[in-house]
Amino acid sequence: MTIFFCQRIDADQDAHRRPLEKELGSRIRFFPLPCSGRIEPLHLLRALEAGADKVYVVTCLEGDCRYGEGNMRARKRLAYAQGLIEEIGLAKDCLELIHVPAGTTTIDKLVKELLARKAFAGPVPQAAPGQARHQRQL
């Protein structure tokens, strides 16, 4: 899982994500952003190419972006990227946008919720013999 998120969601995100990064290692990548509007379709495709099977873009509520329309741009760019991945047969929900009111949760709490959403109990360990990596559909 790769997660791009607006830093306003959790003022202490730096401290909160370190334990999760330790626990999950390469199975999670965090990208804190000054605003979700910083996201570009290229970042999303590169994240998938690097091996993520789910990419989240977490934005503030619509109308609440401190820069005005940053989260609206994020939504449009994510939609564009979804079109591109559908062209190669990937389900568009490999990329998902979620709105979170700023300061109502912490980044590690959020990620744990998102992980719990997944169909399987957890990511398939790479070393497991005879097991193919599944494409998780949510």
Partner: protein, 222 residues
């Protein structure tokens, strides 16, 4: 600028299907401006092609390069040192760029990733509108800087037609009626009299040429 749009991925895939090592070349001028073939778009296309190949269990090796201008030899030459290592070149240049590359490297297989469309302006972010048809005989001075050939669906020089309604073109209601605009501008600048005389038929030979047109300037040649 010259505008273009990326071809559907299925079409691009079909063109590069026989090849394993692809050089994807973008252009930093016109097609970058219309978000079709610049560095970002090269990255997006390359990423999509690589993921697609990986999912299909195919081998695909891509190098991404973006030239400042793909229609000028001096920039195309930058490809010389490594182009031979690649089976094919997927160009994100406009039609001129694709062909220029093919001319500099006649042995290379060069295919287009874009459909080149028109000469236009960036009206606003994300909106490009056709403005010029390259008629070779610019008449904008007669028509209050509104091109009747490009902006009037019927190319009338003595418009409007009977279908102009509320300043909209009858062919496409999203399109403003060029003649409404011409008349409004001339009226506002007190020049409506300019339209009294019948504007004569155009010399289309300047647009058609006898095959591809050319411009030569001796003072610019070596």
């Amino acid at each position: 600028m010259i505008t273009a749009e990326r071809k559907p991925l299925s079409e691009i895939k079909e063109m590069i299907a026989p090849y394993r090592k692809i050089l994807v070349v973008g252009c930093g001028t016109c097609v970058a401006e219309c978000a079709a073939g610049g560095e970002k778009e090269v990255g997006l296309l390359a990423s999509a092609l690589r993921m697609d190949a990986q999912r299909a269990g195919r081998d695909l090796d891509i190098k991404e390069v973006t030239l400042d201008r793909q229609c000028v030899y001096e920039f195309i030459d930058q490809l010389t040192e490594f182009i031979e290592q690649y089976d094919a070149v997927l160009s994100l240049g406009c039609g001129a760029g694709v062909q220029a590359v093919a001319e500099v490297f006649p042995k290379a297989i060069v295919v287009p990733a874009l459909n080149t469309t028109f000469v236009g302006e960036t009206k606003e972010a994300g909106l490009w509108v056709e403005k010029c048809r390259g008629c070779g005989d610019c008449k904008l001075g007669f028509f209050a800087a509104v091109c009747p050939i490009t902006s009037c669906a019927k190319g009338l020089f003595n418009g409007p037609c009977g279908g102009s309604q509320d300043g909209r073109c009858e062919v496409d209601s999203d399109t403003p009626c060029a003649w409404q605009l011409i008349i409004t501008r001339l009226e506002e600048s007190g020049r409506l009299d300019c339209l009294k005389k019948v504007h004569p038929a155009a010399d289309w030979s300047k647009q058609q040429g006898r095959g591809p047109r050319r411009i030569t300037r001796d003072d610019q040649r070596i």
